[in-house]
Symmetry: C2
Subunit: 262 residues, 2 copies
């Protein structure tokens, strides 16, 4: 990507908005959490979730009233736009809501931006550690530290995997995981993508909504990871899909040894 | 336990030794790790592991030459002593060796002390976050912060569980885990016990060596958790056993709904 086509101004603004959301969350996390329930108890939504979403959406629309926004707590009417043409944002105000509620730790704010349908940048804020993962046109950073891509072989690596996938050997991915040094389950896509970018895990397999993988997929892609559905497609930024992120050099082995399709 | 029977002097010394080990590890972790293999690649031993063990054992024996020591890297000849009578220490120089090697994060130094066979204190140092968990005769602390025991019901909690146990529904514990909000796999008993003490998880199920559960079991017990084998016994501080730690009020439900015995 050429520098002069990269949305640098929006990146700098977005970093401020996400960091402000992080400050708000850290300042208020020890207040009593008012927990509401969505479809079930595993899908907790807090008043903080909604509040953070309101803050960031307001900032975006104040600066860019024409931009589209897809966010976890949005109604369906906000998500209908042409993902191949529009300038749009994908927001997860609190990723890892259960961790947020139970642990008050290990959760993230995530924001991704696409210009005329083209991925520009992803932001993942590890809120409690105040670590912001972001990319520009060329590189990926954690705060001011540039991250390097140095993925190892499966046999020398750890894997993050969704518990249901692991429990059921879904797509033979549990078998695949046994070729690694072990699995890690963190309960947050943002935490998993942060570990992927840091080289703490080599791959991530889960069932994800667009706001779960948008920022992580952009960041990981900028480093050299592939992000695809288990059926070999580019994730569609619309539906909940089975999605993985893995170094390019391990995709052949994945396709050969599991039911995941190239 | 009455204050005048508690090994307070040894506690203060042990805190210094463990913190010194932590400083050594943080100062040297980015050196190239020389990795050796024990029985298999999942059982990595590093030169750091051995170095930390040497340092701490030397300190203990310099101050208390009569004390016995059980440590992960010890030969068999060091582990034969009467656990019901002796003054002894149990040391894990680096718990979570794979995390240490792969992630350079999420590992612990653990040390436990027993006087005339009676558990006195446990120390768990989260090395990279420099958080020391410890207990005196009455309370449990993380650095200078006293920890409180406020375990929730299963349905509002997270569980840490060994991946093999989870994969195989061993003792029906995967079924049991499905009554919680989810499972977490951290790859380190020390990290799991730290999360248990902090209330971030409500229980922990794994296959553990004495040095994996000694410090954690003492600390958790001081707060109010039960630590037992899956066969209902007190762990014997000798063999590798299936061990759990859980709040007392959840043990009945565990025994009723799984193959774990009271």
């Amino acid at each position: 990507m050429r520098d002069n086509t990269f949305a640098l101004k929006k990146l700098e603004q977005a970093k401020v908005w996400v960091r402000e959301a992080g400050i708000f969350l850290r300042d208020n996390i020890h207040q009593r959490l008012e927990i509401s329930q969505k479809s079930n108890f595993s899908d907790l939504v807090t008043n903080f979730d909604k509040k953070v979403q309101e803050i960031i959406i307001e900032e975006i629309l104040k600066a860019y009233p024409e931009d589209k926004i897809l966010a976890e707590e949005s109604g369906k009417n906000l998500v209908s736009f042409d993902r191949s043409q529009e300038n749009f944002w994908i927001l997860d105000p609190i990723d890892g809501t259960i961790n947020f509620v139970v642990q008050q730790d290990n959760f993230a704010v995530m924001l991704a931006y696409y210009e005329q349908g083209q991925a520009q940048f992803g932001l993942i804020l590890n809120v409690m550690e105040d670590k912001l993962y972001w990319n520009n046109a060329h590189h990926v950073f954690c705060n001011n530290r540039e991250l390097v891509y140095n993925p190892k072989e499966l046999s020398e690596s750890l894997l993050a995997i969704n518990s249901m996938i692991y429990r059921k050997n879904f797509y033979k991915l549990t078998d695949f995981s046994l070729k690694t040094l072990g699995v890690r389950m963190l309960g947050s896509a943002g935490m998993a993508y942060a570990d992927l970018l840091e080289g703490k895990i080599v791959g991530y397999f889960s069932r994800l909504q667009p706001w779960d993988y948008a920022a992580g997929g952009i960041l990981a892609g900028k480093l050299g990871f592939v992000t695809k559905t288990f059926k070999g497609e580019k994730p569609n930024l619309t539906d909940c899909q089975y999605v993985y992120s893995l170094p390019q050099h391990l995709v052949g082995q994945l396709v050969e040894e599991t039911d995941v399709i190239l």
